[in-house]
Point group: C2
Chain length 269, copies 2
């Protein structure tokens, strides 16, 4: 289906659906691509997962996630994540850069810059692009000290665009009055590595992790975002990635069906 | 006590403590100022509250809150809030500018700009300064579309500094890498109307409203903030304003005692 040509189904949207079912479901529904997560891939078996995806004809748009540079074993773990992305054929490893850990905010941000520099040779060898994901400021202390697209672009700036890009995720960025200029700048620099969509709904749940909405259930202007990344020269996938405990409780096929409908109705009409 | 000379106790920190007890408690503890809220003042009686505070010798550093320009009756209600501030002797009315309501984000922000323009004559007549409070982006959809200090300064810019200022609240701004430049700019323009402190702690509770921490319980660098507002020329009060359901459940005198200790140990040593 042409209207699904750019759609990618991030498997975290149906967090409890087994990987083979996700792959089969997407292939059957005409969704041409998936975003994968390390934990379910590891659980299923990395080589098996790579073969499963390869045989399906689906492409892998991203692997989530590297980063968490505040953890002690970050370098080893991120090199492993890069290797996994390469084996899966994912062009992009999404970096959720980690919270403060024991550091001050400025030091944590400087550490992220250093970590990306240290990771780059391994990523370049593996042919995997690192994609810095600016996350909503409500995650600054515990998930990512990279809180704006502008700051993600500052971190990416020293490196070639095909080595370090950024993720544009509507859930994290919709509130920022500077985001439109940031998207234009990111596009002009060739740095938009992935475009992800989820809607902003309130009230936020405890822990603020599992309260995202399917497109159309909240206040995000998806058409404006899609028009902005398109105008910035981005031609890549539109990944739907929704963490929602209510959605997760439902059967995988229903989640996929409703995600496709939300995508068609509200994102890429 | 000289070390408390700049401290103001915002009554919302002890949300269930009756107003007369707040005033008596602060006076007895040597806290020279309070920040007041409209609902408890109205409940107690506006004129009575004004007399109570006046007799106590305490000063009122701010009244919370005007704003919520997304509500239908915003103009009437905000004029009333201005009048209340004047009667209480509060130099500053804090504006929590409201969420989206039925508007798009851009339209809601334009509406805030228009609302401030429309309110200004009444505020000027009353001798009350409007103080735009940038709030954390996690409140953008439902509480305030003013999400950064930079944007608050854009809104304030057309007006004289003594008519429209901004509130620097550590809870809302700590994550922003642009905040230090913003504080310097706000100070240079004479626009820092109030400095409020609360700490950032996780996990955030459902609804993300009542999860602030007393200074020292989270990750905010209060000394850096105080040094920044001081360096920017601010000489006004340091208001402690903590919304925390656990804290609120405790007796008022204990809350005040712990708030003073947190202030002395972590904010203004």
């Amino acid at each position: 289906m042409r209207r699904l040509a750019r759609m990618s189904f991030n498997q975290a949207t149906a967090n409890n659906w087994p990987l083979p079912d996700v792959i089969a479901g997407c292939a059957q529904a005409g969704v041409p691509a998936v975003g994968l997560w390390r934990a379910p891939v590891t659980e299923y078996g990395l080589a098996k997962a790579a073969k499963l995806v390869g045989d399906s004809g689906l492409s892998v748009t991203s692997l989530c996630r590297g980063g968490f540079f505040s953890h002690d074993d970050w370098l080893t773990d991120n090199r492993r994540a890069i290797d996994e992305a390469a084996i899966l054929g994912a062009p992009t490893l999404v970096l959720v850069c980690g919270g403060l850990g024991p550091r001050t905010l400025d030091d944590a941000r400087a550490h992220v810059a250093r970590a990306i520099e240290l990771l780059l040779p391994h990523a370049a060898d593996a042919g995997v692009r690192l994609a810095i994901e600016p996350m909503h400021p409500m995650y600054c202390s515990d998930r990512s000290v990279v809180s704006t697209l502008d700051f993600a672009l500052v971190l990416a700036d020293p490196y070639p665009a095909d080595a370090v890009g950024v993720v544009i995720d509507t859930y994290h960025l919709w509130w920022d009055d500077r985001v439109w200029a940031g998207i234009a700048a990111a596009g002009a620099a060739g740095r938009i590595a992935c475009f992800q969509v989820a809607d902003w709904i309130t009230p936020l749940p405890e822990g603020v992790l599992l309260g995202r909405g399917l497109p159309g259930t909240g206040c995000v202007d998806f058409r404006r975002f899609l028009a902005a990344v398109d105008a910035a020269g981005y031609t890549g996938p539109v990944e739907v990635e929704v963490f929602n405990s209510g959605l997760w409780a439902r059967p995988g096929p229903e989640i996929l069906r409703d995600t496709i409908a939300a995508y068609v109705d509200h994102v890429n009409q």
